[in-house]
């Protein structure tokens, strides 16, 4: 039984934490939040230098050639730091190229990701709500160009390459890679301006299919999102844990009625429940990391489970943080709102919690040898 990270992996985590404590105090997220910048360019360069951006990219493609266990630990530390960089989103695009791209695409794109020159985003949604196959109207035309509009692409303000879900001339769903220099970008007034999203209008933007185009685009997308969800669950876990730790410090420090508010039973009990939610999330994240590293058949269920658990823990921790900091928690000057905003941003970035719960039950039923979907659409269970 060895359900923990190795000493080497833990060392990497410690290095990451030390680095981020030095280079990415919470003031860094605040400075991006209060500026018009799409991210912290300096930290992004630092992340490239540390080898984080190429964590799972093979050395042959300019990466560090670590594994996914290392990747998730870096994500957790970036979450702790509320790092204002598009690490997980961009890594998801790199991962998509890694698992579904052609050899040529890997060679062409991945070195740029590892070096930090390439920054990816997921251009999926076209309207409010869950992204469904039937709602994809963006066209990838026979001439290799895109036409359509995407909204709310996570970290879209900073990205220069988008993984786009579109429909080809035959109506089939495809995943394509589009250079964003050739699209019209509208940076969103984001709920979390430290990691602003963006919309894109494609009108003749050149884009190439991911991979050889034989596999069903929707199925590949689900696989990409499952893998990204595990990495982001660690980011959420880090953010949740930091919010929790700061809240704990605050309730030990803040006095009311002559004693620290952390000695009041109602607050203690809520902290205990929150602690339990965090540990549930952590354990589910660890299992999902194992499934991701081993790419086993349990990955889809494990990814859904980790994402649902981490989203909930992160949202709850940030909501309680504002509340337990009291009136001051509602001010701009305190950092609570950075957590409140980030938690929601992350909860939406890969699709909202309801979508992942729904998918979780599909997978749960499959793993029990049952079909729970009642769906007719074949790709959804993939």
């Amino acid at each position: 039984m060895n359900f923990d990270f190795s000493e080497e992996q833990k060392l990497l985590r410690t290095i990451a934490r030390d680095y981020l404590e030095d280079r990415a105090p919470l003031g860094l997220a605040r400075s991006v939040l209060e500026s018009q910048a799409p991210m912290s360019g300096e930290l992004w360069e630092g992340a490239a230098e540390m080898g984080w951006l190429g964590a799972v990219i093979p050395e042959s493609c300019g990466g560090a050639g670590f594994g996914h266990a290392e990747l998730v630990l870096i994500a957790e530390e970036l979450g702790r730091a509320l790092a204002p960089i598009p690490f997980v989103t961009s890594a998801a695009v790199a991962e998509a190229i890694l698992v579904a791209g052609t050899d040529e695409q890997r060679r062409r794109y991945l070195p740029g990701f590892a070096a930090g020159e390439r920054i990816g985003t997921l251009a999926l949604a076209e309207a409010r709500g869950v992204v469904r196959p039937e709602s994809v109207r963006t066209r990838h035309r026979g001439d290799g160009t895109l036409a359509g509009t995407k909204v709310g692409a996570p970290d879209g303000a900073a990205a220069n390459l988008a993984l786009v879900v579109a429909r080809d001339d035959s109506g089939r769903l495809v995943l394509v890679l589009a250079e964003l220099e050739e699209a019209v970008r509208t940076v969103d007034e984001s709920i979390d301006p430290s990691r602003p999203s963006a919309g894109f209008t494609f009108d003749g933007t050149p884009a190439e299919p991911l991979g050889n185009g034989e596999e069903d685009g929707w199925r590949v997308l689900r696989r990409v999102l499952d893998r990204a969800a595990v990495v982001q669950a660690f980011e959420q876990l880090g953010t949740a844990q930091r919010a929790f730790d700061l809240t704990r410090e605050q309730i030990l420090d803040r006095h009311a009625f002559g004693r620290p508010i952390g000695s009041f039973q109602a607050i203690k009990h809520r902290m205990s429940d929150l602690y339990a939610a965090l540990e549930i999330a952590r354990s589910n994240c660890y299992f999902a990391a194992w499934a991701l590293a081993n790419d086993g058949p349990g990955l889809a269920l494990a990814a859904c489970t980790a994402r649902v658990a981490a989203t909930e823990a992160c949202n709850e921790a940030s909501v309680e943080m504002v509340q337990l900091f009291g009136g001051a928690g509602f001010t701009w000057e305190l950092d609570c709102h950075l957590f409140y905003r980030r938690a929601q941003n992350l909860a939406l970035a890969l699709g909202p919690p309801g979508e992942w719960r729904d998918r979780l039950v599909d997978r749960l039923a499959v793993d029990h040898g049952l079909d729970a979907s009642g769906r007719t659409e074949p790709a959804a269970a993939g």
């Binding site: 009625f257 941003n345 939406l348």
Partner: protein
């Protein structure tokens, strides 16, 4: 059971409408009445004062105040009817509720004859606007833990310290402040209440920037602010009793206005538009179940107000059920707004003026904190409504200055 006015109430309502018809006009369909005033537009302040003067001169300003102070000595039901009607018409924002609703009654109970004569009619007519200075950075839920000091200086007092979460300091002439005058006494015993001229030297007003970017409140700093002993309200070191009167008036405010803002109907509209995991979100029963629960609470609060109004209408004291509004309503708004954001999926990360869910979600935490946190409201209901025993207190009898955790 019926929802109609009694004949007397109907007559009063007609009177109110007649006045409003004469001086303003009904809101257009879809137009909402202005929310509580939080901005800094001097023109809006002037318009608000002019409307108040007009109301006062026609007997509509302070219905429940005694006639001697410019009121009409009416009951709370008439006040509710007036408010219901006024909200249907296009009128300026109301910047007098803290003064007329909370501070005026406090002066009536604890003020000197001179203070009442000097202030109450001007307050009622809106000629001078008032604000309240109770909360401090280290004393929110536990107001009596405040550390702003007043020291005697001849016949005057000198104030030193900081107040926070003040509404309106920048356009107010007067404030009511509670400060510590005897740090050696137990915490509730060494406090004194004063009227302070907000234009006094040594007062600095800084707007607080909220987490949603808005600025509805101020920090107010006092450096050697001189206050004459004439402006003391109540006895020296007896300020807690005065403050309690104000806080009680704050909490007795009746929610005739109801829940406004992003609500169940907005969620239904949004869910009809947005995609869920299968089909439209409105077909998603997880979404439906949440909307149903929101409607249950939202409707329940509305009908709870009806129960309160019924008691008022009968001249009875309303039941304790009125105490649940803030405890239920504040988290409800937060949860509704959160679902509104969530339903939008990736697009929800952008501020959406169409539905306003994101703005509501960013503003919502404030409602759970202002005017008594959820936790304080639960304490109050448990102890005052349910009669459950207070927790053991360690801070009641110790000298204030001796307690751990007090910044002083």
């Amino acid at each position: 059971m019926d929802f109609n006015d009694s004949p007397a109430e109907a007559g009063f309502r007609a009177e109110a409408r007649a006045f409003l018809e004469r001086h303003t006009e009904l809101l257009a369909p879809g137009e909402t009445p202005p929310g509580p005033f939080i901005g800094e537009d001097p023109e809006a302040v002037r318009r608000s004062q002019a409307w108040q003067a007009l109301k006062f001169d026609n007997g509509w300003a302070c219905l429940t105040w005694p006639t001697g102070f410019g009121g009409r000595g009416l009951g709370p039901m008439e006040q509710v009817i007036w408010t219901q009607e006024e909200l249907r018409y296009r009128t300026p924002v109301n910047i007098f509720s803290i003064g007329i609703g909370m501070l005026g009654p406090t002066l009536m109970k604890h003020g000197t004859h001179g203070q009442k004569t000097r202030h109450l009619r001007k307050m009622a007519r809106g000629d001078e606007v008032w604000c309240q200075l109770f909360s401090e950075p280290g004393a929110g839920s536990d107001v009596a833990g405040l550390t702003t000091r007043a020291r005697r200086d001849g016949a005057d007092w000198l104030l030193e310290g900081q107040k926070t979460w003040n509404t309106g300091a920048h356009f107010c002439k007067w404030g009511v402040i509670i400060v510590r005058t005897d740090p050696a006494a137990p915490k509730h015993k060494g406090l004194t209440c004063f009227i302070v001229d907000m234009h006094s030297p040594g007062i600095e007003i800084r707007p607080i920037r909220q987490m949603d970017g808005g600025s509805g409140f101020n920090d107010v700093f006092f450096s050697g602010v001189r206050v004459s002993d004439e402006n003391r309200v109540g006895a020296v070191d007896d300020g807690w009793r005065v403050a309690i009167t104000t806080l009680m008036n704050e909490r007795a405010a009746i929610g005739a206005r109801g829940m406004t803002g992003f609500g169940p109907a907005d969620l239904v509209r949004l869910a009809r538009e947005a995609h869920g995991p299968r089909g439209k979100a409105i077909e998603d029963s997880a979404v439906r179940a949440r909307i149903a629960d929101f409607h249950v609470r939202s409707a329940g609060l509305r009908y709870t107000t009806y129960r309160t109004l019924t008691a008022l209408s009968r001249g009875e004291t309303p039941g304790p059920e009125n105490s649940i509004h803030k405890l239920v309503g504040a988290p409800l708004r937060q949860q509704m707004a959160a679902l509104g954001v969530e339903l939008q999926g990736q697009a929800g990360a952008a501020m959406d003026p169409g539905y306003g869910a994101q703005a509501a979600w960013l503003a919502a935490p404030g409602m759970r904190l202002a005017g008594g946190t959820d936790e304080i409201m639960r304490n109050i209901i448990a102890e005052r409504v349910l009669g459950l025993p207070a927790e053991p207190r360690t801070d009641k009898d110790l000298p204030f200055a001796a307690m751990r955790g007090n910044r002083s």
